[in-house]
Symmetry: C2
Subunit: 305 residues, 2 copies
């Protein structure tokens, strides 16, 4: 319980910012939390819930005298926010972001950050399919990873301080280079999301199968895809456009592989299918051992019955 920042400005009040506010308050990590959102409705909701000390109307106002500014808006909106807040940033403040793509955000934001301000991009690998100011909760980051993207010019003290904030919110922190981050996330998150969206769209389109059938008989596999495909459309549109190169590269590998398996099905090559399916089990085991998921069957839905 020790204050790490005097005044934290949260730009954007969705799942991530709302969870940060709750986690910082729980840990007494910020003396004051100021929040803002482009949407008047979101600001009103945030005021009602009260997870910020103050909700102000503009990003320009929110950052005044803040020693930490968190950009928590969709990736495509980061540059515009940076342009507006740049002139108001306090000397020696740290600006970070929580976007799912890093190279694009750096390119869009860096030009507007004054010399006397630290810019350290970040990405907490945590979330649910829910969005909006009501969706946050204090434990979202516990035992999840947060990736920070320093470069050769990054101030070590500013980096240490930001790292300690994430650790105090329960996260494991790692550092990564921006392009590598974008490739890793294309594999572990962006391509899987596009694939899930696509499969759910196909099911919706297939006229010979009714929506009721899709809904009722979705017990296995598809049901998990629909959860992924329920995520915030604006956020994901921006992610795919901003991480175009890596996403298309991974999708290219994916379709190549999928065609090979389709061919194995068509030609009845059972051995090839079996070997492929057997190999993927090991990865699942690794994820469970790393504490990034539950060992409970069916995500623990079973215990809930």
């Amino acid at each position: 319980m020790s204050v790490i920042y005097e005044r934290v400005a949260l730009i954007g009040l969705g799942l991530i910012a709302g969870s940060m506010a709750r986690a910082m308050r729980r840990g007494g990590l910020a003396k004051e939390i100021v929040g803002t959102s482009r949407s008047a409705e979101t600001r009103e909701t945030a005021r009602d819930i009260g997870f910020c000390d103050r909700v102000v109307d503009t990003a320009e106002d929110a950052v005044i005298e803040a020693d930490l500014v968190v950009l928590a808006v969709p990736v495509g909106a980061m540059g515009g926010v940076a342009r507006r807040i740049g002139p108001n940033l306090m000397r020696s403040a740290t600006v970070t972001d929580v976007g799912s793509v890093k190279r694009h955000v750096i390119e869009q934001v860096r030009p507007f950050i004054p010399q006397h301000v630290h810019f350290i991009p970040g990405h907490p690998l945590a979330g649910t399919e829910q969005s909006g100011p009501r969706s946050g909760f204090a434990s979202l980051f516990e035992n999840r990873w947060c990736l920070l993207i320093p470069d050769e010019g990054t101030d070590p003290d500013a980096l240490r301080r930001l790292r300690s904030l994430w650790e105090a919110m329960g996260a494991n922190v790692d550092e990564m280079e921006a392009d590598h981050h974008d490739l890793v996330l294309a594999v572990t998150s962006h391509a899987p999301h596009l694939i899930a969206y696509t499969m759910v769209g196909v099911a919706d389109d297939l006229k010979r199968v009714t929506d009721t059938e899709v809904v009722n008989y979705s017990a296995a596999g598809f049901r998990d895809f629909t959860r992924i495909a329920a995520s915030d459309p604006t956020m994901w549109r921006d992610v795919f456009l901003a991480n175009r190169g890596a996403t298309l590269e991974v999708l290219g590998r994916f379709t190549e592989e999928l065609f090979a398996l389709q061919r194995a099905i068509r030609t009845g090559d059972g051995d090839r299918l079996f070997d492929y399916f057997k190999r993927t089990r090991a990865i699942r085991r690794g994820i469970i051992e790393a504490g990034q998921d539950t060992k409970a069957p069916d995500f623990g839905r079973v215990d809930a019955v």
Copy 2:
């Protein structure tokens, strides 16, 4: 609590048969449950756990004087089992199965079922990524759907009796035509499984991303794919080979759609992406309202933190 069958023979002692045994015992639905498995090790485990009244060494022996015989082996093994048990089936017994594909199973099994025996294929849409005799539990079928596949020659009394067994185990029962079943399941289960297997395989293959990175940073999307891809490889190999036509048709639609979205990413067509992603949310809502999943964010993993 009323006996529906005198003696139930379970051929195969994996997740589904093990759960049926436990559910039937809990409800007092069968006077005696006889089980068998091809594997001596599985039979030994089942004897240790004791979820059957008797475990016998062969399918031929298991079906003797059974009034219900449940084929709960991988889809590719159904025909061989039917050939062996056919001569030993009791007059007026009912044979059913729990395979994920119906047309292929009917073609493989029906020739070996004597005239005086009822054959009513079935498919409980329930399961987890776990397999083997230790993985079953009595509540697996509660509020899940079980599809039965009668035809014009099906005896109404035998059908009613089988339906009442599934209902007594907690399932909702519906009837469906075999080919339509195979198409519906290709959409809601088979294609999603192949896609998940493929994506996990691609992640494992991509040399520039380490396995540790895949494992640690799998918080969103990919983690759900690995659960699906942890399912039993033998079972799934057989499903794809047995439901070749419908699976390839759905995968064809899927790749067509995926190419269109890839193109939208490449050309920067954000509106197209946004509209697509927005549409898929409605399906998710339907599944939650139909009681086929939890409304809790992140499958309720959140509450477990």
